[in-house]
Symmetry: none
Subunit: 217 residues, 4 copies
Amino acid sequence: MKKRQVQASVKDERLVKKRRDQMIKGAVTLFIQKGFHRTTTREIAKAAGFSIGTLYEYIRTKEDVLYLVCDSIYDQVRERLYEGLDTKKGTIESLKQGISDYFKVVDEMQDEVLVMYQEVKSLSKDALPYVLKKELEMVAMFEHVVTLCVENGELELSMEEVKMIAHNIFVQGQMWAFRRWTLQKMYSLEQYIQLQTDLLFQGIQGSAAAVEFQPDT
Amino acid sequence: MKKRQVQASVKDERLVKKRRDQMIKGAVTLFIQKGFHRTTTREIAKAAGFSIGTLYEYIRTKEDVLYLVCDSIYDQVRERLYEGLDTKKGTIESLKQGISDYFKVVDEMQDEVLVMYQEVKSLSKDALPYVLKKELEMVAMFEHVVTLCVENGELELSMEEVKMIAHNIFVQGQMWAFRRWTLQKMYSLEQYIQLQTDLLFQGIQGSAAAVEFQPDT
Amino acid sequence: MKKRQVQASVKDERLVKKRRDQMIKGAVTLFIQKGFHRTTTREIAKAAGFSIGTLYEYIRTKEDVLYLVCDSIYDQVRERLYEGLDTKKGTIESLKQGISDYFKVVDEMQDEVLVMYQEVKSLSKDALPYVLKKELEMVAMFEHVVTLCVENGELELSMEEVKMIAHNIFVQGQMWAFRRWTLQKMYSLEQYIQLQTDLLFQGIQGSAAAVEFQPDT
Amino acid sequence: MKKRQVQASVKDERLVKKRRDQMIKGAVTLFIQKGFHRTTTREIAKAAGFSIGTLYEYIRTKEDVLYLVCDSIYDQVRERLYEGLDTKKGTIESLKQGISDYFKVVDEMQDEVLVMYQEVKSLSKDALPYVLKKELEMVAMFEHVVTLCVENGELELSMEEVKMIAHNIFVQGQMWAFRRWTLQKMYSLEQYIQLQTDLLFQGIQGSAAAVEFQPDT
DNA sequence: AATGAATGAGGATTCATTCAT
DNA sequence: TATGAATGAATCCTCATTCAT
């Protein structure tokens, strides 16, 4: 599936890219503040630094802006995720590192993640698949890292389990953003990473309690 | 914190309750289909079976409807959660049962959960706390059950861990609804319950394989 | 073919009729002054004496107004035409009378005829047939009167000729309106009626010259 | 009255002529399809084969395009009319020939005639007279031919009658275009010419029936 | 209590025209 | 001369809310 094309009247590709970046930047700020529906196209144009007429030289409909914004945020998150994720090693340690990095990215991009998270549903049936595809790609990155660990014999997991784990990691990252109203009151980012990682690896029964039992070995 | 009062012009409390129930029922259906913003008050009135004028006898603003809807859904979920959750026993078994029941409730009320999930953010700063409060109450229910297990010596967990676990369980339930576009393609509800429960209790390293290997160490 | 229904949100049929009459009246005046395209919906609402919101309670789109206007004008012309046209007699005299009456109606409703004449083409492919149908009905009225004359032996004409004549009469009526910028400078209405009637009955060769040949009279 | 000047920024007269011809050609096609108001200047520029910027080097306003188009169409029709019309002979035969030729021109240029017919009214008060002048010139051509017949003693008509006849001929030509939705369903062009010519010359009473009666006189 | 007609602020989008390159 | 990006006034239409009946 290729990138969904948002039609622009302006031909100069470089300009289109530039203007759309302005646009996205302005729009994200607004969407964070008031959400997609409560943001007007005029506000977007203004925030982007050009007139309403110009805005419409680079998009067809307001929804295009939303698509562009979501698309862009996903790209950013994914890119940063990709940098951090060492997809070669296949060791427990590198997996832990990957999770930690991902959570940190989410933390830094909280606002963006939140927007994307809350507004994707406003995308038309037409645009949605393109965005969901990207989400799955990110999940697949975790899947890959975990799979490597399995292949290396560091973990023993079925394919179903691997997939489930990848989804869980992904959602727990987002969770840090969309439940920040409560989680970030209780935990620091480091604590959150530590706790989630421990729980993920040890499970409820394998945590502290299990440790205590281990002296016997 | 008491229930937020939505003002009605009509005095007869019984009637208010009745009309609001009609209203909520109609609105949920509409919100599921088109979301809050794309649903008009006229549509809500029609779906509820009365006129737009009458609608406004029972609410002050459109947002009131959203609040009422979210509130109602939370109440339903919570109530059903409460029925299932045996908050006395404090055994691993009853915790597993509780999780399973919760996931099943979410499965049955998928649409509602989704609406609530996606539209809460449209609530005003004014109404939001009341709804989030309810969410925390539900989390607290899991917290309580887990705590009992700890107190009974079935599990050994810190308070931070308990809280984290409760949030994880809660979110993993919702996840079944809001990620249904991918999860429900891969797993049946039973599988999902099984997998998540196993992972929760054993963690990645504690799953079947790891257990087998541990004797050797 | 039944009347094309223009949807109204308001149920009360009497009110719909009343408001639409106001609307049409205002719109005709505006269309006469500036044409359909240069008239805004707000102006129409204002001219009708109510708000833009109310306007849209009685129509779906701006084009509906145009349809309503054209429809109404046709109805008026047709009705007045029908009153005047003695469709029973079937004598040359009554035909002449009919033409004269028709031309007088056009003269009185010049502005309306002009509007209809110039704006029908702006109707959508959807609405156009309904309006053209009415035009044909009017032509058919003349056709009928002429046919009667033929049946009475007052005239001897083929069906093709009858149809052609009916169309000619109809267009010559309209012509008085749409070519008024020149015709009405040269002729009074009475002259116009006299000239057209004479030409119609006698033809070029049968006019003045023919008189000379009629020594018998 | 001289040709109304449409201002151009470009000086080179030859270029102006060339570009305007491109422009008119493109615009006519568009006006035929969607009418003047629904055609955008961008579309016109595109259809003409140059940019919007260039378009405005050769006109001042969108209305100028309409004027240019109407003017051009009139010129074409008039020119072709002029070729056909033998303005010297002054015989019934040459008049009939002229009418027939004119009707054929209209038939061939239907779309153009229609555009001109329907859109002239959109011209500003400023430009209108220039176009109407051309129309009168065409009418005058018929007037002239008929007058010659009168002078030659082939016809006996008053000046009023001559003018009326000229207008009738002119309108009956246009009629073939603007009432084509019905006329062209009923008649072939040849039939139409035949019928109209006969009616014009003989009148209702002078057709077949009258002929029969004439022996008696 | 119920109704639904009326309101008008507000929002998305278009398009003629300009002007710097 | 030619280009096409930028502009923003103008326009159609929607919809939450009110209020007289």
